[in-house]
């Protein structure tokens, strides 16, 4: 072993592989316990010494397989503790190493993680909706700036969405998505009106002082 890192990596492999043998020994125990249960059913009402012997021996075999599983898990636990002593935090938590299903604690943790992801998505949607509002506003400014002089078109200025809508967090994303959609629709409508005005002003060049430049493009 050339370094602590090598020792830790190899010990982690030992722990991982031991965890798998714990599960395998558990499977062996299940088979042996099933065998014992079947011998017990088969031997009901029989005092034949051989079936009685098969019942007790299979019971012991199952119990021993269970003990093997526990010993292997204990060995993995001690090695994981040792890894964390020589390199703190290097060994994964031992809580769920050999459990096939998630524990209650894990379920709660996963649920919290999902809630956190939702909160992040919700915040991102809020940001996006605010951006759409900003774009719509700057678009209105842009139209004001390029509007041909002498025309009387009124540009509607969309309101930016409130930064902190007074909804429950669960409603936020949905209501902001609706707001964003309305703002986008508004912006498209404004753009449409702008193009129409522009076309009109091109058709009537005498009323628009800046029509020369747009003629070149047509």
């Amino acid at each position: 072993m050339s370094s602590v890192g090598d020792v830790v990596a190899q010990l982690r492999e030992v722990v991982d592989r031991l965890d798998r043998t714990v599960v395998a020994a558990g499977r062996a125990q299940t088979d042996l316990t099933d065998g014992h249960a079947t011998f017990t059913r088969a031997g009901q009402g029989s005092n034949h010494p051989k079936i009685r012997l098969a019942i007790t021996e299979s019971d012991t075999a199952g119990a021993k397989a269970g003990r093997i599983s526990r010993l292997l898990a204990e060995a993995a636990g001690h090695l994981a503790t040792y890894i964390n002593i020589i390199a703190p935090g290097a060994a994964p938590s031992r809580e769920s190493a050999t459990h096939s299903g998630p524990s209650g604690e894990e379920l709660v943790r996963d649920a919290a993680k999902r809630a956190s992801i939702f909160r992040k998505a919700s915040r991102a949607t809020t940001r996006n909706a605010e951006q759409v509002g900003d774009y719509a506003k700057s678009f209105a400014d842009f139209i004001d700036a390029v509007r041909p002089k002498g025309t009387t078109s009124q540009v509607q200025r969309p309101e930016a969405p409130p930064a902190n809508p007074p909804h429950a967090p669960g409603d936020t994303a949905q209501s902001l998505a609706v707001t964003a959609a309305v703002l986008v629709a508004g912006a498209l409508h404004l753009f449409d009106r702008f193009m129409q005005k522009r076309k009109e002003s091109r058709d009537r060049p005498e009323s628009t002082p800046r029509s020369d430049s747009s003629h070149g493009e047509g």
Binding site: E13, R20, L32, G35, L53, S58, K64, Y82
Partner: protein, 78 residues
């Protein structure tokens, strides 16, 4: 039903043999890795692995005794 129980014992034995082989390999790797360490956690881990190895042997014997008794029983029934 006795035959079915014997089959379950054989299935358990096969899984156990494979596990014993794996555990022996892993124990060798662990010994090489922690070579010479007298740390209490290492010593406890090694004691568990030695004990597990012993239990593999004992379990093997119990399974063999079970199967033998079950076969004797089946022969006695005729």
């Amino acid at each position: 039903m006795v035959r079915q129980a014997v089959q379950a014992m054989h299935a358990g034995q096969r899984t156990l043999e494979a596990t014993a082989t794996d555990a022996a390999d892993i124990t060798r790797l662990a010994k090489l890795t922690v070579y010479d360490s007298k740390h209490p956690e290492v010593e406890k881990a090694m004691a568990c692995l030695r004990e597990a190895e012993r239990e593999f042997d004992l379990t093997r014997r119990r399974i063999a005794a079970t199967v033998e008794a079950a076969n004797d029983f089946l022969r006695a029934l005729g």
